[in-house]
Amino acid sequence: MENIRVNLPLDKEQLKTLRAGDTVLLSGVMYTSRDAAHKRLVACLEEGRPLPFDIKNQLIYYVGPCPASPGHAVGSAGPTTSYRMDAYTPQLLRAGLLGMMGKGKRNDKVVEAMKEVGAVYFGAVGGAAALISQRILSAEVIAYEDLGAEALHRFVVKDFPALVLIDSEGNNVYVEGPKKYAEPDTEE
């Protein structure tokens, strides 16, 4: 299967061509954020304060990495489950965010907002954490240092392996994929 190369920050025109189920390699800059940092980002938007980074066309990766051991930019860094960020994601999308990356399903409000702005939800393979960390060239905390593993990091990545889970038209691999491979249970 052919991997599609995707540069970060994202390009809306390219996102239109990606389809749920495509495998991609991401290269460039991404930002990390989980539950607590999301809460702060949305508070910034609501209070009209600037965000700690320019969110336009960016991708946010949901991750809480292991501590880095000597000689590594970051520890194992696989995705966390995304639905906990659903409450915040539509606002970030409307502020310019174009991509999210995590694992697991999203709610309808997120999918609606994605279609509205032409965003894509990527998935990193849950548990492929050591492999992923090798594709992270540098990791730097740019805000919310007090949150520890949940601090907002800026990652520079090269050939970061990911999948398109939900594309900009709302096609969803978690719905379509299993349908395609389910076999009837003949026994009963």
Binding site: M1, G21, T23, V63, G64, P65, C66, P67, A68, S69, H72, G75, S76, A77, G78, T80, T81, K103, G104, K105, G123, V125, G126, G127, A128, A129, A130, L131, I132, S133, Q134, G148, A149, P161, L163, L165, V173, Y174, E176, G177, P178, K179, K180, Y181, A182, E183, P184, D185
Partner: protein
């Protein structure tokens, strides 16, 4: 009577935690490898090959297979002829956890209070400890760090005798189906049938760490393991939940005598980062 120093127990558990966190078992590795060859979905194949590469990197670089290095579950069988000297048993185990999670660059994922005061204990303690007293003068230790993506998808049901095999099959298949992508498939399903409620869940946990190259010694249960595996893989969930023929690597069942009125059934799911390590002192 044999004297064993607390320090020896600590050292053994420390090593087992690191081994489990970095080195996947050969049984799981080989099974994922075979599945990667047979997988019908091209994207599923990509995912399974990433998992293999991930296992290789973790073992080579001595880094965690998954960033969720889990809560540390420890099964300890203490020989009745053993006398432990030089430290409190529980504290010794927690000291080992503390040291391994710090030295091993493993993530600390435990909070002090489950409901109100969810503050990280910062050293991944306390461990979950299951102790049995057994004949002999050895200590048998099984360490199995457990991530919560898969732990959260586990379930227990107090089935009744009339539910029969069909009841067990339905409960297991439905639980895996509802879990979908969340437990990071391909998974191993541990099932405990019989005993009392808590007994069933402990058996299910233990079965997540039984080698997937083994089958239940009772041919009837071995056949049920096989049947459940087939049914789960027909669901089409696939690796990472994106659709495919590899959802489950193995179903392991353990049973225990139970009450005339009951048939407790517990399901504990573990992801492909099925970490466990074993030693005998």
């Amino acid at each position: 009577m044999r004297v064993i120093q607390a320090e020896t127990i600590k050292k053994t558990i420390y090593d087992l935690i690191l081994k489990a966190s970095y080195d996947i078992g050969q049984d799981v590795y080989n099974c994922v490898k075979n599945c990667a060859e047979c997988e019908k979905s091209p994207s599923g194949k990509v995912v399974l090959n990433q998992l293999l590469e991930n296992y290789d990197i973790a073992a080579r670089e001595r880094v965690a297979i998954c960033q969720d290095t889990g809560m540390c579950v420890i099964f300890i069988d203490v020989g009745q002829d053993v006398h432990i000297e030089g430290g409190d048993f529980t504290e010794t185990i927690n000291d080992a956890v503390r040291a391994a999670y710090s030295d091993g660059y493993l993530r600390k994922s435990v909070v002090r209070d489950p409901l109100y005061d969810r503050v990280n204990t910062k050293d991944n303690t306390p461990a979950i400890i299951h102790t049995r007293i057994v004949p002999g003068d050895k200590i048998d230790i099984l360490v199995t760090p457990k991530g919560f993506g898969s732990e959260n998808m586990s379930a227990i049901k107090m089935l009744v005798p009339a539910d029969g095999e069909a009841g067990v099959v339905k409960f297991v298949v439905d639980t895996v189906k509802n879990a979908g992508p969340n437990p990071c498939p391909p998974i191993i399903v541990g099932v405990g049938i019989g005993g009392t409620m808590e007994m069933a869940t402990i058996m299910a946990k233990r079965m997540t760490a039984r080698s997937i190259d083994t089958v239940n010694p009772n041919p009837k249960y071995a056949a049920l393991e096989e049947k459940l595996l087939e049914k789960i893989n027909k669901l089409g969930i696939g690796a990472a939940g994106i659709g495919g023929s590899t959802t489950c690597l193995k179903v392991n069942i353990e049973t225990y005598p139970t009450h005339i009125a009951g048939m407790p059934c517990a399901i504990n799911i573990v992801c492909h980062a099925a970490r466990h390590a074993h030693a005998v002192i």
